[in-house]
């Protein structure tokens, strides 16, 4: 594989950039693989990469219905954080933060990881107390957390509304300075390129039509490009999890919902890091191009549409305007939607299933992007070793019936309620 560097950039400039190697090949599927990963998004490609790198399993195919990186890894608001309260979620995502810090070097692909911090704003004394508790829990797990008072928040985001007239005055906030953003497409492409170079077949425009299961064991998948035999199959299909589960006669603790995001026209740097509004569901950051990247509530009803409705965007931006009045002067550049695999406690599932050789990676709700590296890392371990790693030991499918829920936000089973 051709290494990307300033030297290769200069060298290729002499040939008008016409002679770059393709970043990944476009192979026709073989008849059999050791492992087939369904879903060529961030998690699927990361899983294939870590299978090859950490476990030396290279007879792997990633099959994708559309094109790689066209689903949620290309639709999210790129936020990376590990500000979780529960041990299982905190340990899992903090391990992921370590992977993020070295990802550009490891993949030889600039994923533009930019740890500029995240601030969760508080608008009442009670909320400050809750954040103090969460911050302390984070620090016990070795995650950086800083409780900010009103003046400290004002120094960091002076353009927020600190006047006396606001309905939800800012009392302070909880900051994770090591959180940040990354170039989301770059993450998918970087993993794809490295996985491909180690022998993984990335097969696009290949839809799964069914599964071959015999005697409780997975034998292969039936696809639009023919039958592909596999010793092991991993599902990384986020919003399509319920559709594939139906083909397997499985019912899962997951509902599929729609989430929208939007960006404004680009403006000069005004906001450093990520800010979340504490009195409504709204989060915002500024991209390297200068666009304000914003998101908030789910549309709130089961959906596979990948496109949203205007009332939700209006509702989300009402919260945005309450926090940052300057947004009213900006034009909206575009809005889009993605479909979310909402688990019943808001935490993910990375587990084996009752079918031997079939592994499940789902339930990411609207927070899958930040976990892309650690999800791939632990899922690869789970598939290769046929057992859970201690990092995903609590992210099981049977935690619902056993009562060991990871209900981080205390929302109960209706995690889609706004």
């Amino acid at each position: 594989m051709q290494k990307y560097s300033v030297f290769s950039l200069i060298k290729n400039a002499f040939s008008d950039h016409q002679n770059w190697e393709v970043a990944w090949k476009d192979p026709t599927p073989k008849s059999e693989y050791d492992v087939v990963i369904i879903g060529g998004g961030g998690h699927g490609l990361a899983t294939a990469y870590y299978l090859a790198k950490e476990h030396k399993i290279t007879n792997v195919a990633v099959i994708e219905k559309g094109w790689i990186g066209g689903g949620n890894v290309g639709r999210n608001t790129t936020i990376i954080r590990s500000n979780f309260m529960y041990d299982a979620n905190a340990r899992f995502n903090e391990f992921g933060m370590d992977l993020w810090r070295n990802l550009s070097q490891e993949l030889n692909f600039n994923v533009m990881f930019s740890p500029r911090g995240i601030i969760n704003l508080a608008h009442s004394d009670a909320q400050m107390n809750a954040y103090a508790r969460r911050g302390n829990s984070m620090r016990l797990n070795g995650i950086d957390a800083k409780l900010l008072n009103r003046d400290e928040v004002k120094k960091l985001i002076p353009m927020a509304d600190f006047s006396d007239e606001v309905r939800f005055p800012i009392f302070g906030g909880l900051m994770q300075p090591s959180a940040g953003t990354a170039r989301h497409d770059g993450v998918a492409w970087g993993y794809a390129r490295q996985a491909d170079s180690m022998g993984v077949d990335i097969i696009q425009h290949c839809e799964v039509e069914g599964f071959d299961v015999e005697g409780g064991k997975i034998k292969g998948v039936r696809t639009s490009k023919g039958v592909i035999k596999a010793k092991k199959v991993g599902l990384c299909v986020a919003g399509s999890t319920n559709i594939l589960a139906e083909k397997l006669n499985m019912t899962l603790p997951i509902e599929t919902h729609l989430l929208q995001a939007c960006v404004s026209e680009p403006v000069k740097p005004v906001l450093d890091g990520v800010v979340t509004f504490g009195a409504g569901h709204f989060y915002i950051s500024q991209s390297d191009k200068g666009e304000m990247v914003m998101g908030g509530d789910l549309d709130g009803y089961n959906s596979y549409a990948q496109r949203g409705n205007l009332p939700t965007i209006q509702h989300v931006l009402t919260g945005g305007l309450a926090l940052f009045p300057f947004l009213s002067r900006l034009k909206m550049l575009r809005t889009w939607g993605g479909i979310m695999d909402m688990s019943m406690d808001g935490s993910p599932i990375i587990d084996k299933t009752h079918i031997e050789g079939l592994y499940l990676n789902c339930g990411w709700c609207y927070g899958g992007f930040k976990s892309t590296p650690v999800s791939g890392w632990t899922f690869a371990h789970t598939i290769a070793q046929d057992r859970l790693h201690e990092l995903n030991a609590d992210l099981t499918l049977n935690r619902f019936s056993n009562g060991y829920l990871l209900d981080e936000k205390g929302l109960g089973t209706k995690t889609w309620i706004s």
């Binding site: 319920n242 599929t256 709130g300 009803y301 089961n302 549409a305 409705n309 619902f400 089973t413 209706k414």
Partner: protein
Amino acid sequence: MLHINCPFCGLRAQKEFAYGGDATVKRPEINREVSKEEWDNFVYMRKSPRGKHIELWHHISGCRQWFKVQRDTATHEIFKTAKMSEEIV
């Protein structure tokens, strides 16, 4: 914006309604032994189909009645609405 035909008030804008989830989930009968699996199915397990879906909506800014809606989860087309006592087949 969805336009939902409330069985009591007629066609109204989506903003007047709140969503209540899958309407086909049945609570296990009480006054008998209920297995762990039955509770599990009732509380957590969802089909969440792509296509026709029967679901609960609440006319929260209107008559405040709960009712059933049959809607396509891929196109958002609404086929039928019915009172809670009625079945959608």
